[in-house]
């Protein structure tokens, strides 16, 4: 129904949001909408990694979507990876949020995804490329919400010290401002034409 396509660098993910539609009896929840996320990789069949990412995305969206307004319905979010040049998880998060926005679903707040890589000498790199991610000793992805810049989702790869994590989190929260501005501009552009 409604595709959305944010592009940090050369990573691009297409998001399609369908719903709220009638849910299958086995999947329907009596008091809220049932959210389902399907992540399709560029090449190959979805595997365990995609499943774990789907779980992260689904629970992040569930925290934000006001599902209680649409009980016994199903909302499906399909994400197709078109190209991957690093920071894939945050690209998926951004695509998901814009998709939900575009679909007009009631949300309690917006969220954005930011990935930070810690390279071997401790510098923080935001939105790393695939090469930077491989060389980094830790890659941290956060989903930051728009109302109070709190952490909605956190996922880390590699190990880091606690201070480094806090620094990355602070950097991500600052970067979130730029991304939310981008959301605003995109939505304004889309609706000002029509």
């Amino acid at each position: 129904d409604l595709p959305a396509l944010p592009v940090p660098g050369d990573t691009s993910v297409l998001a399609g949001v369908y719903g709220p539609a009638e849910a299958k009896l086995s999947k329907e929840l009596p008091d809220r909408a049932a959210l389902e996320v399907l992540l399709r990789p560029k090449v190959g069949l979805p595997g365990v990694l995609e499943r774990s990412r789907e779980q992260l995305l689904r629970q992040t969206c569930e925290a934000v979507v006001l599902g209680v307004l649409h009980p016994r319905t199903a909302i499906t979010l399909v994400l197709q990876v078109l190209s991957d040049a690093g920071s894939l998880l945050s690209c998926c998060l951004n695509a998901a949020c814009i998709g939900l926005l575009d679909a007009g679903l009631p949300l309690s707040s917006l969220f954005c995804g930011v990935t930070c890589a810690l390279d071997p000498d401790g510098t923080i790199i935001l939105d790393p490329t695939t090469r930077q991610e491989q060389e980094a000793r830790a890659v941290l992805s956060f989903a930051i919400d728009s109302s109070e810049r709190k952490v909605l989702m956190a996922s880390t790869k590699g190990s880091c010290s606690i201070e480094e994590m806090q620094q990355c989190l602070a950097a991500a929260q600052r970067a979130a401002d730029t991304i939310f501005q981008f959301y605003r501009d995109s939505v304004r552009r889309r609706y000002s034409k029509s």
Binding site: R51, T60, S109, L140, A143, V151, S159
Partner: protein, 265 residues
């Protein structure tokens, strides 16, 4: 009663893992057919991990690395919420989480598993099976995995120069080299005000989010796993991390005590 949970615990209290040696009940070496095994009970949550070591040729692009293949199973016998059939999302996400913990913490360096560069390496199949699901699966699984790996004895393998075949000597065994000891601590979040440690299944169902922090003995963070759910401030996250570090010390002491008590052979 304020600040008290249905089973009488405080918010920051872990479940008494049946007393065998300390707080957590676990036994090592229960499965005789596996190369290493451990059974962990965290309250009612029971998880068993069996490690089998087999031989294989290393991959072409990483000729000096072995493999570690974790697999978490949530059979229908552990809880009525799981149906029999292909692994559901929770089992797959847990398997991915365990694989990430092994990789992030570098608890086993894959190069240590190599026997002959490009020809032969060990593959460790780690099967983690939940026997009784009462919440906090990730903590119990990581613990079971760590204990089982500490229990693993690898036979010595040599490659016969003339025939080029491998010869396994079952009598000569060396323990697996474990470099780091990651410990997971899970919290359940309720509407971004309340944080409780070690949730039971009932508490998990009612919670609005969960966080799992994995730390190693140097106080480094191996994983911060917060799959969505209610938002948390940075300060609250820091509280979780501090609690996780304390927990790590308790668990490490326990593991060391048990290992010491079974080692004299």
């Amino acid at each position: 009663k304020e600040n008290c949970r249905p089973d009488g615990r405080e918010l920051g209290e872990f479940r008494a893992t049946t007393v065998n040696i300390g707080n957590i009940f676990f036994s090592l070496g229960s499965i005789t057919t596996a190369d290493g095994s451990a059974l962990v009970k965290l309250g009612n949550t029971t998880v068993i991990c069996g490690v089998k070591a087999e031989l294989a040729a290393p991959a072409a692009d990483s000729a000096n690395k072995g493999y570690i293949v974790p697999n978490v199973e949530l059979p229908s016998l552990c809880s009525e919420r799981f149906r029999s059939g292909p692994p559901g999302e929770e089992a797959q996400a847990a398997s991915q989480f365990i694989a990430d913990v092994i990789e992030n913490s570098q608890m086993i360096v894959k190069e240590d598993l190599c026997i002959a560069n490009g020809k032969l390496a060990w593959v460790l199949y780690c099967d983690i099976i939940c026997l009784d699901y009462d919440g906090n699966l990730l903590d119990a699984s990581v613990f079971a995995l760590l204990a089982a790996l500490k229990n693993v004895q690898l036979s010595s393998v040599t490659i016969n120069e003339e025939t080029g075949l491998s010869e396994v000597n079952l009598k000569q065994k060396t323990p697996l080299i474990i470099r780091k000891h990651p410990v997971a601590t899970s919290f359940a979040i309720f509407d971004d005000t309340l944080l409780i440690v070690d949730p039971t299944a009932e508490e998990e169902d009612l919670a609005t989010g969960t966080v799992t922090i994995v730390t190693d003995e140097e106080g480094r963070l191996c994983s911060v796993h917060k799959p969505g759910g209610s938002p948390l401030t940075g300060a609250k996250l820091q509280d979780c991390i501090t609690r996780a570090i304390t927990r790590h010390k308790e668990v490490k002491k326990l593991i060391d005590k048990v290992i010491k008590s079974i080692t004299p052979k």
